[in-house]
């Protein structure tokens, strides 16, 4: 080997060594700053470390990055329901999980994903109001994406899906009820959400009852909002539409009744539907059942 070749190889090795040392130093610095609680610096060094090809596929490095971002979330962004550091941390733990062939960090990655996903779920619940409901939906979708990584049991995620959809459907109904003329889109959204639940769980009593009530109240309000001036011919058409809505309501309410024949609201609902369909005998039958149940209390 010529002298020049040896110098070139030595030079390359030297560069590689220095470079590798620099990466190692980045990691050590990130870790040190994390332990000192200097999160900005820890973030700076870990961001630099993962850019390098020698560490880009190291599960431990990605775990450390996730851990630093999770700590930033916990320290600085806990009150932010759209915390960017939390989302970043989740992607880093996910990356670590996917490349962790030795499975050295699997349990830690899973724990951390579970923890952050749970905060997303809880934040989704806390955002269920007329202002922040879109944040709730987004957080819940992200929660599902990550929760499935750590708990792929279909029944668990399905139950969470039902709980959340029931809550959001109920919220949509409340928004619609707050302004029935201007917020009509929320009526459709509410029905859509209940339909989703009923596809997942046809025997969900709350979804059946509330779906029945949506149609029921729509039918009642269709009549009640008419001015006394309305012509009898037009009233006839409105009665037709109202009756169709009561008929739409009936199977949901009957289903809810079959699932719990002693539930007060359902008995009230059925009595009201039959009354509105001018089937007074049936209406009275449910009224009497309700009275009997209330006497027994």
């Amino acid at each position: 080997m010529s002298k020049l070749k040896r110098i070139v190889i030595f030079g390359m090795l030297l560069v590689l060594t220095i470079y590798a040392k620099a990466q190692q130093e980045n990691l050590i610095a990130a870790q040190t700053f994390l332990q000192q609680g200097n999160l900005d610096s820890a973030k700076h060094y870990i961001d630099a470390a993962v850019l390098n090809s020698s560490t880009a596929n190291n599960a431990q490095v990605w775990y450390l990055k996730g851990f630093i971002y999770k700590t930033i979330y916990n320290k600085n962004e806990k009150g932010n329901r759209q915390s960017p550091s939390r989302l970043a941390a989740l992607t880093f733990f996910k990356k670590s999980l996917s490349i962790d062939s030795s499975q050295e960090n699997t349990q830690e990655n899973i724990k951390n994903i579970k923890y952050l996903a749970t905060t997303l779920y809880n934040d989704a619940g806390a955002s269920l109001d007329s202002i922040d409901y879109k944040i709730a939906i987004k957080n819940f979708e992200i929660f599902k994406e990550y929760y499935l990584l750590v708990d792929p049991t279909p029944a668990n995620i399905r139950q969470k899906d039902i709980d959340f959809t029931l809550a959001i459907a109920s919220l949509y109904t409340r928004i619609f009820e707050s302004d029935r003329k201007e917020k009509t889109e929320f009526l459709s959204l509410s029905k859509e959400a209940y339909n989703k639940i009923l596809l997942l769980e046809p025997n969900n009593i709350n979804a059946n009852y509330n779906m029945g009530i949506l149609y029921y109240n729509q039918a009642v309000n269709l009549i009640n909002q008419q001015d006394y001036d309305i012509d009898i011919v037009a009233l006839n058409d409105i009665q037709d539409n109202s009756i169709n809505l009561f008929k739409e309501s009936l199977p949901f309410m009957e289903k809810a009744y079959s699932l719990d024949p002693r539930r007060r609201e359902t008995l009230l609902g059925l009595s009201g539907i039959y009354f509105s369909l001018n089937e007074f005998e049936k209406s009275n039958m449910f009224k009497l059942k309700l009275e009997e149940i209330e006497k027994q209390k």
């Binding site: 009549i223 009665q239 001018n278």
Partner: protein, 183 residues
């Protein structure tokens, strides 16, 4: 040192549990009795547009007598009376306890629980111009001019034109055509 971090990483993990979504609420049904009463009030108000009373019934208040018990209906009629007029006449709702008490009124509405009094009321109103409205199957054949009935789940009216003419009232053909005619 880097490896050491991972060996030391058994940090205290804060136990975080799922919070149950509490925003689900049971919505109570709206009052169907109100809707039913509202339909009847709309009909009653429409009668004032399709029926013409003689001149001496166009002075003072337009009186609607109600015989029977139905809180939702009375509330609806009262609401109607406070927001509408018949021409320049204010609408006045009067509760009537028995046939003897029937006042001079434009409309007397006998609710189903008082249907038995129809004959007495009709007798009391002989020679007068009061529209008799009832709310029980068969009443249009027994003396009422307009009777509320249920047809295919809907609120409809039966109309006995002879019982309208008898009280010197004029009815528009539109109303006659819309009603189930009874002879």
């Amino acid at each position: 040192m880097f490896i050491a971090f991972f060996k030391m990483k058994k940090i205290l993990f804060i136990l975080l549990t799922f919070v149950f979504f509490s925003s689900y609420k049971v919505v109570l049904p709206d009052q169907s009795e109100e809707a039913n009463a509202h339909v009847k009030a709309i009909y009653i108000y429409n009668f004032t547009k399709y029926i013409e009373w003689p001149q001496d019934y166009k002075d003072g208040n337009f009186v609607v007598g109600v015989m029977g018990t139905n809180t939702a209906l009375l509330n609806e009629l009262t609401k109607m009376a406070s927001s509408k007029t018949v021409g320049s006449q204010k609408i006045e709702i009067q509760t009537v306890l028995s046939a003897v008490d029937v006042p001079k009124c434009n409309i007397i509405y006998i609710l189903s629980d008082n249907s038995a009094q129809l004959a007495d009321v009709a007798g009391k109103l002989k020679g007068k111009s009061t529209l008799i409205v009832t709310d029980k199957p068969g009443m249009a054949k027994l003396g009422s001019a307009i009777n509320f009935v249920i047809f295919e789940n809907k609120q409809k009216i039966e109309l006995n034109k002879a019982n309208i003419d008898k009280y010197k009232l004029k009815v528009a053909s539109t109303l006659v055509e819309m009603a189930i005619q009874i002879k």
